[in-house]
Symmetry: C2
Subunit: 473 residues, 2 copies
């Protein structure tokens, strides 16, 4: 007896028919109406019964197969795969963007801004104002260097942040990751040596490696990179550039002292290397005085300053800027051109207006308030309730670099079973060595979730200490 | 006697004060109120007279200097530069994007879509629908592979265009230029050989060279790349990939025949190289039957298909997609991630809705009508009025590849003096050899401009033939 397929199709919907068929069958698989290994109707039968072309059903079945929901046996038809056999989709990218899993209750592994704080309505108004004001020119090619008024606005923003800068040195980019890529294209040749902090953001390392560079890591300490070790390295190796984060470093949260910055510049001059200063977070300072970027004291064209708005504002805006040494301007412009020609004109114009209306400045004040509340809460709660977790209090940012006396990959794995995600420290080292360090990001979770997560950490830690938990990893 | 500076400042304007001061003085220089070598007031005097801080005037003067409108003499002040001494701004990028010049009347050098045809209002509505529908998630990180519903829409679009494709093989990118960059990162190592058509789009060549590749060019003919020469090349050299445009090639307008496509695939299998098929224009066919992309007959994972919407739709959308061989998916995804993490979520979602509402399909029909009118006109006008210009009629696209018996760099230079820009052929060859070929793009100019441009070409050509014009170049 043929099963009834309650598939409703809306021919006036903007969704293609085959997607609608796909969605309906998917629903039936997920809610158990269709059972594991059950045979789906033939293409002809189903297309006839719901009144669509054969090709629509062919495409729908194809999509189901691609999603891992069904399998085909040649000559006999299409069958439901069953959820426990569903292909696991592995996102094999080593970074801090771990896919949400339906079993995860609290995700502390992503260092990203809280979508609840995105000024969507305000930004929508700005976008509409731009579309009304500029019309079609929003969608023409933009200059590779960027939209001039935005570059002027960012010149001014840089001045406010203590960097005296020439308009010609400002280049608009589509986010910091692209900035690292463009700078690498400008500077790195196959076999060049690059120094990074240890631990560091390995998304940058991937880019350097892709250019054929040789990576050397040097420990970062509370006041910045270890200069003695660095000097040893640059004495023994011709180093082309060093990649650093001077404020609230990712993952450690450390901030460079004025002395370290001055001495590092001295070494850069003496040993002839460049410094990429990645400023992804300096606006989110909760305590202590603002510090100036190392770019602000660079008199010898050593520092390439990289500013992104993704981690504090909205990642989706894909916007940032480079302040380059004057002698590198043409090369950076060419590299930008051959990378993606130019950054979205709409986003450039909208963000420019957002800056000129001082909405950005207001928004930053709002963000600092919001994130500081979270920061104060987690610092206090960890201190009072989870003394087995050690961490150095950073003066800002949205993550803490923590350690226990347990291997962090093991700890992360045990926590994952409880629905808590943290970022084990191995993700921030070059060679995935074992480490007790891990990063917890608190930007996107609320107070109750933070409390629950810390309580779970404590519970898991104590059960492990009592020998009640053991995992092979 | 002090000159009066009629500078009006609006403290409620979103424009920063220093930009307002800059704009006002700039206006006075451009309209002649301020004369060459005239001294500007001191910073203190001006700031007092218009009631702003010193730093505002400092920044305004700095901007004027950067724009080449004033110069400073140390110890004596800031002076007006005079327009004839104004620094010429040279955009030293060898490509088809030549900066608009105030003296240029008609620009046939840019192969770009006509901004008058951009569906700005329609697209604005779609953007607003998306912002209302999806809220903050528009601005979160998107998946590196792209927004799933857009990938589904493009799967369907590919099917409509004859490419049977697996959803997993579709990757969203920020335009074709980025696609070339990502594919290069995936495939090319230092020293690899890459074959390109001769002539070709040199923006692609720049990317291959930046990866340290060795470039070999092979002539393109009316039915595609010369296969005899190509086979010689791939016999003698281990070639990693070949970059081709199968429809309305840039710059020649040639389209690959079915035979050439089949034979090229045969060579790719035999000699183990990959093919990048850059489909930037196939929708704009005016005559003849649609041809299928080479990807549609690729059974052995040889072809990486690259689709951009910039050249036909709106460059500012910065959106395209790759259809990759299945075995390359993970590598392309990683390369995309380290290139810019992900493409703008807003543009992805908006374009998806634009496709689902079938607005794209309607728009393409509209564009084909509009551009065909221009195409028919210029082909007829050239044929009837400028027989000294030879060209092969392509079946579509928005440019013609022309030649005369004069060196095209010389011809372009003489035309430029008359306010007409064309793209001399040297820009499309690897070694800037001398050539009589040039490209004229007719997408953005109207009928009268086209007529005037061709008449000027004729006039200049005839004066040159009579020995009335001579230029050193």
């Amino acid at each position: 007896m043929k099963k009834h397929y309650p598939i409703s199709i809306d021919k006036n919907s903007p969704d293609p028919l085959y997607v609608q068929v796909f969605e309906e069958i998917k629903k039936m698989i997920l809610n158990g109406t269709l059972k594991e290994d059950e045979k789906l109707p033939s293409i002809r039968d189903l297309s006839k019964s719901i009144g669509v072309n054969n090709i629509t059903v062919v495409n729908a079945y194809k999509l189901l197969e691609q999603e891992g929901l069904v399998y085909t046996k040649i000559g006999s038809g299409t069958f439901v795969k069953g959820l426990n056999k569903k292909d696991e989709k592995i996102i094999n990218i080593k970074n801090d963007e771990i896919r949400k899993d339906e079993f995860i209750k609290i995700n502390l592994s992503n260092s990203m801004p809280n979508p609840l704080y995105f000024p969507v309505e305000e930004f929508k108004e700005v976008i509409n104002e731009i579309l009304d004001r500029d019309g079609g020119s929003v969608f023409t090619y933009q200059e590779p260097k960027g939209y001039l008024p935005l570059r002027e606005s960012l010149l001014n923003y840089s001045l406010e942040n203590g960097i005296e800068v020439n308009l010609n040195d400002i280049h608009i980019i589509s986010g910091a990751q692209q900035g690292i890529d463009i700078i690498s294209k400008t500077l790195l040749k196959f076999g060049d040596n690059v120094v990074v902090e240890c631990p560091t953001y390995t998304g940058a390392v991937a880019v350097f490696r892709s250019r054929g560079a040789n990576i050397i890591d040097v420990p970062i300490e509370k006041d910045g990179i270890n200069l003695n070790i660095l000097e040893d390295v640059v004495k023994k190796n011709k180093v082309k550039l060093i990649y650093i984060m001077t404020n609230f470093q990712n993952p450690t949260g450390y901030t460079y002292s004025e002395d370290t910055k001055i001495d590092l510049l001295y070494l850069a001059n003496k040993y002839d290397f460049y410094i990429i200063e990645d400023d992804y977070m300096s606006e989110l300072r909760f305590y202590g005085d603002n510090t100036l970027p190392i770019k602000s004291i660079d008199k010898n064209n050593r520092v390439i300053y990289l500013k992104s708005f993704s981690k504090i504002f909205m990642p989706g805006i894909r916007l940032g800027y480079i302040i380059s040494p004057a002698n590198m301007n043409m090369d950076i412009q060419s590299a930008k051109y051959s990378t993606d020609i130019s950054t979205s004109g709409l986003m450039q114009r909208a963000f420019d207006l957002y800056l000129r209306k001082r909405l950005w400045h207001n928004h930053i004040r709002y963000l600092v308030e919001r994130y500081k509340e979270k920061y104060d809460f987690i610092v206090e709660y960890l201190t009072n309730n989870a003394s087995f977790i050690e961490f150095v209090k950073p003066n800002g940012g949205i993550h803490l670099w923590c350690s226990t006396n347990v291997d962090s990959a093991l700890f992360a794995s045990m926590l994952k079973d409880e629905g808590i995600l943290i970022a084990p420290g191995t993700a921030f080292y070059l060679d995935e060595e074992s480490t007790n360090y891990f990063r917890i990001s608190f930007g996107t979770v609320d107070r109750d979730e933070l409390k629950l997560a810390v309580d779970k950490m404590k519970e898991v830690y104590e059960r492990y200490q009592r020998g009640e938990l053991f995992k092979f990893i």
